[in-house]
Structure formats: C-alpha cells, structure tokens
C-alpha cells in the first residue's frame, strides 16, 4: 500500500503550505483521482509521492517502508509534457530501454510501432511520446503509477486509448493509480474515489 501520513509541502519557509496534514492511501489495483484548481499543489503532491521532492512534514511509505532512495522506484510519475520527460538526443529505442527492456506485449498494447524506434522525440506527436513514456514507466517493479494530467493535451481518441491501457494494467497487474486532472468527468469515470486539493489543505470526498 502507498501511504502518505500528515503530508505537508511548501516551496520555501516564507511561502504558505500548498497542502498540510494530508493523509492518503492507495491500495494495489485502486484508482484514485485528484482534482482541484490550478496552483493548489496537485503536481507537487505527485512529485512528493514519487520521491522527486522531499516532504516538508509527514512521510510517504510503501508497505510500511520509506520510498527507496536509490534503485528503481516502485512509484513512477508520468508528466503532463512528455517531450520534457525524455532526453531529446536519444532515439525512442534507447528511451524505452532506459529502465529495462519493455515486453512486446506492452509495446503492442500501447500501439508503439517499430518505425518509431529509430526516430527522435521531436519526430513523434505528443500522444505517441506519452505512450512511449508510459511503456518506459511500466517496468516490472513498478507498482504505483502517478498520472499528472497525462492526457490533457491529447485528442479524444488517444485519451481513450491511453486510459483503456492504464485501466487494464491496473486490473491485471494490480497497479495502484493516481489520476491528477482538472476534468471532473474523467475522474468520475475512471476513479473509485476522489481527492479535491483546496487552498492549504486537501479534502477527501
């Protein structure tokens, strides 16, 4: 279980808390949504949960242990802008293999074509690149996936494709998924429960 207890974060001591005393639990296979207006700390929450930022207060535990400081992190974060999450000088084949060799099943499920492998990131569309990032994040030791507005820039068909794959994987591999989005309809459709980020706090609903 991914568990955050009394979590708080602020950018510098003179800044207000983006969220404070936040308790959150995601069980394997569960899909949890996070919504709220811009600037309320949704992305920051994802970064703290994935170990990108150290929490100001509280802790993030996975099965009762802190997140590993080194080695493959079982909590993987997917960014809103995939073009910033890949090395622009690497070809797609190298990007996909950064963590481990993706299985042919994952490549096929995500519709990653072999013609893409010899291309550079700027030669792929946003939707194609996001699927590459998703394939890279789905290493064998990944247990929780934090999706930070991963489909907000994509067309409806690609959105459906990506979410269908994520939902299927969550079910088959018992992946815990955190869906961050402005789109309340999307969250209502995908998630079993929702967290609303309000100013300085987080309300569970």
């Amino acid at each position: 279980m991914l568990e955050a207890s009394s979590l708080a974060y602020r950018y510098g001591k003179q800044h207000p808390w983006l969220f404070n005393e936040l308790d959150l639990r995601i069980t394997p296979g569960e899909i949890v949504g996070v919504s709220g207006p811009s600037g309320r700390g949704k992305s920051t929450l994802a970064k703290v949960l994935a170990g990108y930022l150290p929490p100001g207060k509280g802790s993030v535990m996975i099965d009762g242990r802190p997140l590993p400081a080194s080695g493959h992190c079982p909590v993987q974060l997917l960014f809103q802008h995939p073009e910033l999450a890949v090395n622009p000088r690497w070809k797609i084949s190298k990007i996909l293999r950064e963590a481990e060799e993706p299985t042919p099943v994952i490549l096929q499920t995500l519709g990653i074509e072999s013609a893409w492998l010899d291309r550079y990131p700027h030669e792929l569309s946003g939707g194609e690149l996001q699927r590459v990032c998703l394939a890279r994040a789905l290493g064998s030791s990944t247990r929780y996936l934090l999706c930070d507005e991963i489909t907000s820039m994509l067309d409806a068909l690609t959105q459906v494709h990506i979410w269908r794959v994520v939902l299927n994987l969550a079910r088959s591999r018992r992946l815990g998924v955190l869906v961050i989005s402005h789109d309340k309809t999307l969250i209502a459709r995908l998630c079993s429960r929702n967290i609303t980020c309000l100013e300085g706090a987080a309300a569970l609903s």
Binding site: C73, L84, V86
Partner: protein
C-alpha cells in the same frame, strides 16, 4: 539546385571536414616542402608582382611570398589549434566545476568569467602576451587565458539546466546511478557544445594570433607569421606592392571562414532538430 538540396546535412558536414583536413594537409605539406625558402633573399627578383613563376609575387628583398605565406599560415594554424584547444579545455573544466561543485565555486568562477568578458579583449591579450615574453608561447597563453569565459558560461548553464530537467530526475527514479546519468545524459549533452565551442574558437585564435603579431606583441619580426607579413606589407602598400597584403590576408580570411563553416555545420549536425535536414 542548391547545395543544401543536393546533399543532406551529414554529407555536407563530411565534405566540409574533408575540405578543412585537405586544406590543413596542403598548408603543412607545402610549408614542409618549401622549408625555409621564404627567408631566402634574392635581390635579382625584387618586387615582382604575382605571376606564373611566383604565384604570390616577391617582396622588397626578393623573398617568395608564396613560401612565406605557407610558412606563416602553418604557424598561425598551429598556434590557433593549440590555443583554442587549451581555452576550450579550461572552459569545460571551469563550466563543469561551476555547475556541480556548489555555490561558492560557482560564484567565484562566474565572477571571473564576467570580469574576463568585461575587460577589453585586445588589452587583455596584449597584457598577457607581453607578460609572458611574447613569441608563440605568449600568444598561446594569452589566447587560451582570455577566450574561456563565453564557453564556460555556455557549459555551466547547460549542465545546471540539465541537472534539474525532468528527464534527468526521472532517470534517478528509474534507478540510474549518478555516474551513469553523468555519462549518458549530462556528458553527451555538453560534448557538442564543447566541440562546437572549440571549432568556433579556432578562427578567433588564428585572428588574434595574427593580430598580436601585427601589433608587435606576438612573434619575432624575422619569423614569417601571417601577422608579421601583414604588418610588413603596410610600409609598401603606398608604393603599389598590393600583393604583399592581399595574398596573406586572403589566405587568412579563407582559413578563418572555412573553420567557421566547419563549426556551424558540426553544430547543426549534432543538434537532433537539424541533423536530418
């Protein structure tokens, strides 16, 4: 059909590299074959304008200007290459140190780079070359010690931006160790800046080497460096001996432009966005 339509970026860069290497080879081979012939006076062949026998003419002492120009260019290219390499290596070390060794080191190196950039270039070159006793050693130290700030700032900014980029932070969360990240993400990103910086420093260094000698702070007057030839020619231009300045001047311009073209092509080739043009 233009050259850019006829050949792709890789072929064009390859052609420029071959051209530059050929130019280097011809200059060094020519200078070696002619030996010290450019310093031999022949008073029966004084002040001859360019023609079949003497393609670059002869000077007021009957010395062959072609041999002198080749010898001068060989010296300039050698000095330029050495000075640019030293300067680029200083820039790489200081740039990486500023970006990775903490705030104090960064502040000191940034201040030094700012001070170097704020000081008039030529004054700094003259002072350092003079303090080092002139000659090839003085020129190399002066150019190397005064040309690192711009490239240092570029490398520092690249590494700093890269360290906080999403894909480098993500690489850590994918289990990659700092050494692996430095080798696969940071260094390949800085190498093109370093190579292009070095190539673009090279023509600068050649020009400054010639400039310092022209002003009398570089090579000794009896050594036929391009700057010496240009400086000497000034006294004879009014008497109609235009070839004394035109031939060495043109070869200097051509070599500087060739290496500038090489630098720009390599930069475009190493940039994934323009490499497939």
């Amino acid at each position: 059909m233009t050259c850019s339509r006829l050949f792709d970026r890789r072929t064009r860069t390859l052609l420029v590299i071959i051209g530059c290497l050929l130019f280097f080879f011809v200059v060094f081979l020519g200078a070696w074959l002619y030996g010290r012939q450019g310093e031999v006076t022949n008073l029966t062949l004084r002040k001859i304008s360019p023609g079949w026998g003497q393609p670059f003419g002869t000077d007021w002492l009957g010395r062959d200007m072609f041999a002198r120009t080749l010898q001068g260019l060989r010296l300039s290219l050698g000095i330029g290459l050495l000075a640019a390499t030293c300067s680029a290596i200083i820039a790489l070390i200081l740039g990486l140190a500023a970006a990775t060794l903490g705030k104090t080191v960064d502040v000191v190196i940034t201040w030094l780079a700012d001070a170097g950039m704020a000081t008039p270039h030529l004054v700094l070159l003259i002072l350092i070359s003079f303090a080092c006793g002139g000659g090839a050693k003085g020129i190399i130290i002066a150019v190397a010690a005064s040309h690192w700030p711009a490239l240092t700032r570029v490398i520092r900014a690249e590494v700093m931006q890269l360290r906080t980029s999403d894909y480098v932070r993500l690489s850590r969360r994918l289990g990659k160790k700092p050494v692996w990240i430095a080798r696969h993400h940071l260094l390949p990103h800085v190498v093109p800046q370093f190579l292009v910086g070095l190539l673009l420093l090279f023509p600068h260094a050649i020009l400054h080497a010639a400039g310092l000698t022209f002003l009398g702070f570089g090579m000794s007057p009896h050594i036929p460096e391009i700057g010496t030839l240009l400086s000497e020619s000034m006294r004879y231009l009014s008497s109609g001996m235009w070839w004394l300045a035109v031939a060495p001047g043109l070869t200097l311009v051509v070599s500087v432009m060739a290496f500038d073209l090489l630098g720009n092509n390599v930069r475009a080739l190493l940039d994934p966005k323009t490499m497939r043009e």
